[in-house]
């Protein structure tokens, strides 16, 4: 033998390509085509991990993604991946794996003591204890439990690899590339249909690679390779290896995970580690095969006890041998094949134990000649050994118990179709007593199931089923499937007699290996009343581990059925949920992390703001210029105060491009506006702007903004930045859903126009320098609330609105987005000698608070127009959205919280938003809560801290004093309640 455990010949491995890897720091080697599990076996490793609860030593149970035991931490550092199934890791050069859930070492694990007191730690023990003293839970008990539980360790640093998503469409999605899936895909593909074949393995062929059956007179694996090659060459086919279809969603949407680069140490540059696919398939053919069931007997978890089908995979596909002396324990015909294959590979067969007294003598065939001990009607009652298997105890048909030395035991409890994906939309598999197994029940629409997944546990039937399903799918698209003859193959014997639990052996008999759920636990749960399968699952954790009970669920519920003396069909199964196998969180996020989590919107004036040194902040999807620091300024407040002073004394320019802008045209535009705003717009004169307030139908304020009339049938609406998208949607709803008869056309023009406010006493003078001469913007020609289309800078189209958020003489100028930066620069240049300064969101916020204008902190969905002092805008003359419910008693109550201004009595004291208003001398309790501070600012104009707030009774409280209580930050400040307009209450500056 070339190395311990490696067979001298055979296998679908590339002996010309040796691969170095390490496990627990020990370097080893394998070959290309190995999995980590097969390579470990080749290197004589049988102890690979520790179980969840009892920290029992565990080896390798399976050869596929159902593996519950051989979980390792792959890679290291930021790429560490806990709980990786060694059985589905493709070996690569430099692979590093470590065992997990053990301390200090895999061979000696302190917590294995748990196993010794297993009698006390039976299912649900923690629900019954750890209750006293109560304070001990978080401090003592829970940390212990948490540390002992879990499995591997997560990486401590950001995942350095990148992930992506992609979409695919096809006529037929074939899930699984075993004989059934390959045949289905081939048949559909030859008809010309668009086919995707996905298989989670890196080598197509399914069981054909693990078994020695022949197709068309050659090894099945050769047939598989030939078919895969033909499929790969067809333009209408996408053959996806290393791709697990993990979920079925509504509307024939399938989710798949492609492990693009898990078989290399580090993904090549620009390539993702994994790619998540959404596949939209008109038809799907599930050909996922079947899972072999373990047998439940004492110490059945000892390393060396393996599924019989896995033993065949290791011998036939990987040319490794799990042991030198193999015994086989089965209750079905298929189990015998392990012995036959092992014998053919030169492995010594110590015994074949079949629980069926009537097992056909033909099954032994070859074996008989080799003098293999064959037991019929016998059972393995116990495995002996600790970190490896040493012997088995067999109870023969007469009840006599004998011990057989062996280092590997292949067990087969029969096969269960992989029906998982049939259940993701709620379908329940149904019990088929003759298999015996659960087979697909109601299927997702468009899905058919073939091969072992459909209970066809034999090769020829799998091929035929695949061909028929492929042809029928093709016919659904009006294509005729070529009548290529079925390849020739035989059906192997496949009868089973269920054997759910072998009692009588000393030691725990595991049902769920990973979570250490034993047959005894199942019995206990049933005795304690947790009798629904779902309660059994939740009480014992059966089927809740990383393998989701792939090897344990059926055994568990069968044992429950026998405890309850009910048929399995009545007991039923637990619900399968996606994903079929666990999917990395990174893959489900794809590109969307870090800065790419969500799109960033940049204003058309972004460059301009950047040039002036803006500090940007995230504001919803936007980045907005918050303030423009100058050298020597110590904080944002100093900068923003300076900006405010510039606006109040000279002129400032700020970016308001992020406001929503909606173009509304048509003869009925005014009518629509009247219905969506609480105030009236149909009467607005052409060339004028008006402030409007929209209510929700429940009577609360939805949004505000100005709307201007550019022509009789043409309005331009602005919305707040935050609500831009929502208001457009709302208007479309009102139009299309409520009043389709209106002749109105609405278009978002938010992206089209850059918009800037030019504010301050010198704003007109500044603007006049860029506005084309033919447009008169003098106060007389262009008074407050004028809105007109003009040109600037020698012909550039623009819209000029004389509106003011700052309270100064001010304009908003809209220009096409492409020239936004250039226009802003031109205005700055024009205003240099007038003292123009850029100002940001902070300064804007200060000025609107000085003016008592409401914003997002006041229009918070809990306030009415009356609460905000806008009650007089609610028209009495017309119907509009929100009118009726705004009159509900509680919305019109006098003690509602209304908008007021707040001034700390000591003007130097800083106040903060979020503080609550409490009467002076009253207890600081909810009962005395009068309202809260919504917004605050240091007003450079008033040189003091000011705030807006909502207070019970609103304006009636002007002149009274309250405490602003901020318990979180420990402040309690006396303030006077006042009118919310602190600055220029008469509004004279607007008209300058």
């Amino acid at each position: 033998m070339s190395s311990a455990g490696r067979l001298p010949t055979g296998g679908r491995i590339d002996r010309a390509r040796p691969i170095k890897f390490s496990f627990d720091g020990r370097s080893m080697s394998g070959f290309a085509g190995d999995t980590l599990a097969s390579a470990l076996i080749a290197n004589g490793v049988s102890l690979v991990g520790r179980s969840f609860k009892y920290h029992r030593p565990r080896g390798i149970l399976s050869a596929g993604s159902e593996e519950p035991n051989a979980l390792v931490e792959m890679r290291a550092g930021a790429r560490r991946e806990p709980n990786t199934r060694a059985t589905s890791v493709e070996l690569f050069d430099g692979l590093q794996a470590q065992s997990q859930n053990r301390w200090p070492s895999l061979g000696f694990d302190i917590l294995a003591l748990n196993g010794l007191v297993g009698g006390f730690l039976s299912a649900g023990f923690y629900y019954k204890t750890f209750m006293w003293p109560a304070a001990f839970w978080e401090k003592v008990y829970e940390p212990l439990i948490r540390r002992a539980a879990g499995l591997g360790r997560s990486a401590g640093a950001e995942d350095p690899d990148h992930y992506e998503k992609s979409h695919a469409h096809c006529d037929v999605l074939v899930i699984g590339g075993g004989p059934a899936g390959l045949m289905a895909a081939l048949t559909a593909a030859r008809s010309g249909a668009r086919v995707i074949l996905a298989d989670e393995d890196f080598l197509p062929g399914g069981r054909l690679n693990a078994e020695r059956q022949e197709i068309d007179g050659a090894a099945g694996s050769i047939w598989a390779a030939t078919v895969a090659a033909e499929l790969s060459s067809m333009p209408n086919v996408r053959l996806m290896r290393r791709t697990t279809v993990f979920g079925v969603y509504d509307g024939s949407t399938y989710a798949a995970l492609e492990r693009v680069n898990d078989h290399v140490a580090v993904p090549p540059p620009f390539q993702p580690r994994q790619r998540m696919w959404r596949i939209y398939a008109r038809r799907s053919i599930l050909a996922a095969g079947a899972l072999e069931r373990p047998l439940v007997f004492a110490n059945n978890d000892r390393p060396g006890v393996m599924l019989a089908g896995a033993v065949r995979s290791y011998i036939n596909r990987f040319a490794v041998t799990p042991g030198q002396r193999l015994a086989v324990f089965t209750c079905c015909d298929d189990g015998w094949q392990a012995a036959i294959d092992a014998a053919a590979a030169g492995i010594s067969i110590e015994a074949v134990i079949d629980s069926r007294a009537e097992a056909s003598p033909a099954l032994g065939g070859e074996l008989g000649k080799r003098d293999v001990r064959i037991f019929r009607g016998a059972e393995v009652i116990r495995a002996v050994g600790s970190r490896g298997l040493q012997a088995i105890e067999v109870r023969d048909a007469s009840g006599r118990i004998s011990s057989i030395l062996c280092d590997a035991l292949a067990m087969s409890g029969g096969w269960s179709p992989i029906t998982h994906l049939t259940s993701h939309l709620g379908g329940r598999p149904v019990w088929n007593e003759s298999l015996p197994a659960f087979v697909p029940g109601t299927l997702p629409s468009g899905m058919s199931v073939v091969g072992a997944a459909n209970g066809a546990m034999a090769l020829a039937r799998s091929l035929a089923g695949g061909r028929d399903a492929g042809a029928s799918a093709a016919r659904d698209f009006g294509r005729s499937a070529s009548d290529a003859p079925l390849p020739k193959a035989d059906d192997e014997p496949a009868t089973v007699r269920a054997l759910w639990h072998v009692s009588g052996g000393r030691g725990p008999a595991f049902v769920d290996f990973q979570n250490d759920v034993t047959a005894k636990d199942v019995g206990l749960a049933s005795r304690e009343g947790y009798r629904s399968v779902e309660l059994l699952k939740r009480y014992t954790t059966l089927g809740m581990a990383t393998d989701q009970g792939k090897t344990s669920n059926v055994n568990g519920l069968a044992i429950l059925a026998s405890e309850l003396a009910q048929p399995i069909a009545t007991v039923g199964t637990t619900l399968n949920r996606p994903p079929f196998t666990p999917v990395s969180i990174g893959a489900l996020a794809g590109h969307h992390r870090g800065k790419d989590f969500r799109a960033t919107r940049l204003s058309p004036l972004h460059e301009w703001a950047k040039t002036h040194g803006a500090v940007f902040i995230e504001s919803g999807a936007w980045l907005r210029a918050s303030w423009f620091p100058r050298p020597g300024e110590k904080d944002w407040l100093e900068s923003a105060s300076r900006e405010v002073r510039a606006v109040r004394s000279a002129v400032g320019l700020t970016d308001v491009s992020t406001l929503g802008k909606i173009d509304i045209q048509g003869p009925d535009a005014g009518t629509l506006l009247d219905r969506v705003y609480c105030n009236t717009f149909s009467t607005l004169a052409v060339g004028k702007a008006r402030y409007g307030v929209m209510l929700r139908e429940d009577g609360f304020v939805m949004d505000d903004g100005t709307t201007s009339r550019l022509a009789t049938d043409h309005f331009v609406m602005t919305t707040t930045t935050a609500n831009a998208v929502g208001i457009m949607r709302h208007l479309e709803f009102c139009h299309q859903g409520l009043w389709p008869g209106l002749d109105v056309q609405m278009t978002s023009i938010s992206e089209q126009w850059a918009q800037m406010a030019i504010a301050g006493p010198k704003s007109r003078e500044t603007l006049a320098r860029i506005v084309d001469r033919q447009h008169d913007i003098s106060d007389a020609a262009f008074p407050y609330l004028t809105a007109r289309e003009i040109t600037i800078l020698g012909g550039t189209r623009a819209r000029l609105f004389r509106i003011s958020y700052s309270g100064e003489l001010a304009y908003e100028l809209a220009v096409p987005a492409g020239v936004g930066n250039a226009v802003a620069a031109a205005i700055m240049e024009a205003g240099t000698d007038l003292g123009i300064q850029p100002y940001g969101l902070e300064a804007m916020g200060i000025m609107r608070i000085e003016k008592g204008h409401v914003a997002g902190s006041e229009i918070n969905g809990q306030t009415t127009a009356r609460d905000l002092g806008l009650g007089k805008m609610m028209s009495k003359k017309k119907d509009y959205i929100g009118r009726v419910l705004a009159e509900r008693p509680a919305l019109a109550a006098p003690d509602r919280w209304g908008l007021v201004g707040l001034k700390p009595v000591d003007w130097t004291t800083r106040i903060r938003a979020g503080a609550h208003l409490i009467p002076i001398g009253a207890a600081t309790t909810t009962a005395n809560d009068l309202g809260y501070v919504t917004s605050v600012a240091f007003s450079p104009s008033l040189e003091r801290w000011i705030g807006l707030g909502l207070i019970s009774g609103g304006a009636s409280k002007h002149g009274t004093r309250v405490r602003l209580v901020d318990l979180l930050r420990g402040s309690d400040i006396e303030a006077e309640v006042c009118d919310p307009v602190f600055y220029d209450p008469k509004g004279e500056r607007l008209h300058g």
Binding site: Y249, D250, G251, S252, T253, R278, Y280, L425, G426, S445, E697, D698, V725, R729, E732, F733, H735, Q736, G737, L738, P740, G741, D879, V884, L885, E887, R888
Partner: protein, 91 residues
Amino acid sequence: MRIRCPYCGERSNDEFYVLGDADALTARPSGENAEAFHEYVYQRTNLAGLHRELWYHSNGCRRWLVVTRDTRTHEISDVTYASKRGEGEAA
């Protein structure tokens, strides 16, 4: 979930914004009847079965659609424009 927009074709539900019961939401009462508005705004039949509901094709043609969908299975049986005149604005 896949919704067949009459204008854009079949798309996944992430291209849409969903508002809820179409029968309730488009049946806006008129006048002063507070009880009728209370029903309209707050009360829902909340059917387990075929449910006519409003979806807005926000990442497509921006039409409001009435989708008939079984709330028990998510199966969609019909999609139309919320405004009858949707197609070609012919009215």
